[in-house]
Subunit: 137 residues, 2 copies
Amino acid sequence: MVRKTKSSKGLKSLPGERGDAAFRSKCSITRTLDIVGDKWTLLIVRDLLWHGKHTFAALQGSAENIPTNILADRLQRLAEWGLVRRELYQERPPRFAYHLTDTGKALEPALTSILYWGHNVLDGGMPERLRGKNSPG
Amino acid sequence: MVRKTKSSKGLKSLPGERGDAAFRSKCSITRTLDIVGDKWTLLIVRDLLWHGKHTFAALQGSAENIPTNILADRLQRLAEWGLVRRELYQERPPRFAYHLTDTGKALEPALTSILYWGHNVLDGGMPERLRGKNSPG
């Protein structure tokens, strides 16, 4: 799915074509964490995927109060890795909308598993649409 | 599962009983990332869960070359949050073995989903036991 031409439009290379030197090891978990392994990146993916937030201001408005410089850095990284595409929707002043590519959307099962753990173990919230479903774990 | 007496032995409180102030928001994903959201913690969980590494030296020997101070810090944090229990297996000099509690083991579905994404998108490795199974995504 992630190798569709559509999702790689405008990229110099697909993420998997960067070569081993881009990562700490061959391990698939390590490689994923090399891109999304921090306290903020998956919250941006969450907001793009589930919460309909597609502008810088909307993403910045989430409850976790992401610092401006971190949000800008993570959006840039997500775009460089082909998980997010940026679209100019207003020219003066320039305003961009951010959307997940298929590669970015493919993180949904990981996000869902993380969500269930945080709900079961840390008393975190559970979205209405997931209530009553069995935990994937 | 995570509320069994067994897995919380020795803990002052279960992770979910720490209260909202311990986390950036009520979101279950945010809370999980508040504990495991970095480049290293889930690699330690991986090694404890799948690779039979239960000593400091064994964990330090993985391909990613985790720095000593980070490994010590993360094991301490994982123990404080009730994901790992530490057992003295030699007294002089003191040597400890590390094992996941049920709470820690409950991260397996999240690890597996992360692994599939890294395999599909980033050309990361796939363990023999998972080959041929359908991706959870």
